[in-house]
Amino acid sequence: MTVLTPWAASGPFPVSGAPAPLATSSTLVNQLSVKPRLGQWSKVLIGGPNLGTDESNAMAILYPVPNGGQADAFEVQDQGGQNTIDLSQIYVYATIPGDTPMVEAFGYQTV
């Protein structure tokens, strides 16, 4: 049967100094969400392999949530119900080294 399963590496994503891909090899999922971690002060940039630290080529720029409120979020999901989002092609950058945006991804698996 088919089940939407959390990607095993979902969680705080450490970024230090340069945009980093969410996965080092091709990893297809159905749904992806990236949010600033609550209480941290980084802006979070999201883009493809050409994402720049100067915000060039960013597909989303998220404001931090240092002190309360709903977190800004980048969310994308394949509405056709397929695993089509390749995490190795999604790059994330936090403007303060060491900050850890929260990454959540789910993919269809047959169990």
Partner: protein, 159 residues
């Protein structure tokens, strides 16, 4: 009685009320309950609803259901008036040593006095895009940062 004690007392009353009218997803025990993963029925049924209590777990981390229950829509909301963050994650949370929050994939900010976002509570909504019952509630774990707090959980199945 301070504010925290008042909340605790009020929540205790709420939990007792819920115990009287348990939904199918809230039944304890090991019996399978609900449609198979990946199915799609024609009637939307609520299988989880109300404040979700994890206080019976040794580390305060609990799966939404004890046995696999496949839902098509899941909503978890910070409980208005409560003061701790809510962490949500996968099965890895259950055995975590050290910071449980570091093993989660999502955190909800508390809404203790309605002072942010025009009083809206932080909420995580997750659904299958094709309305299939594919979200295994037993694989979604919740951890309130403050013991005894109770996020609002709602889950629907198509049966």
């Amino acid at each position: 009685m301070n504010r925290r004690e008042l909340f605790k007392q009020a929540l205790g009353v709420g939990a007792a009320a819920i115990a009287v009218t348990r939904l199918s997803g809230q039944s304890s025990g090991s019996s399978y309950n609900g449609p198979a993963g990946g199915s799609r029925g024609s009637q939307l049924v609520t299988v989880l609803a109300g404040p979700f209590d994890t206080s019976q777990q040794p580390n305060g981390v609990a799966p939404l259901t004890a046995v696999p229950q496949y839902a098509t829509y899941l909503r978890i909301q910070a409980h208005p008036g409560q003061e701790g963050k809510i962490a949500i994650g996968g099965p890895g949370m259950a055995s975590t040593t050290g910071s449980i929050a570091d093993s989660t994939f999502l955190e909800l900010w508390p809404n203790y006095d309605a002072s942010f976002d025009n009083g809206r509570s932080d909420t995580w909504i997750f659904s299958d895009p094709k309305w299939l019952n594919t979200i295994d509630l037993s694989q979604i774990y919740v951890y309130p940062e403050i013991a005894g707090e109770t996020p609002i959980v709602t889950a629907f199945q198509l049966v």
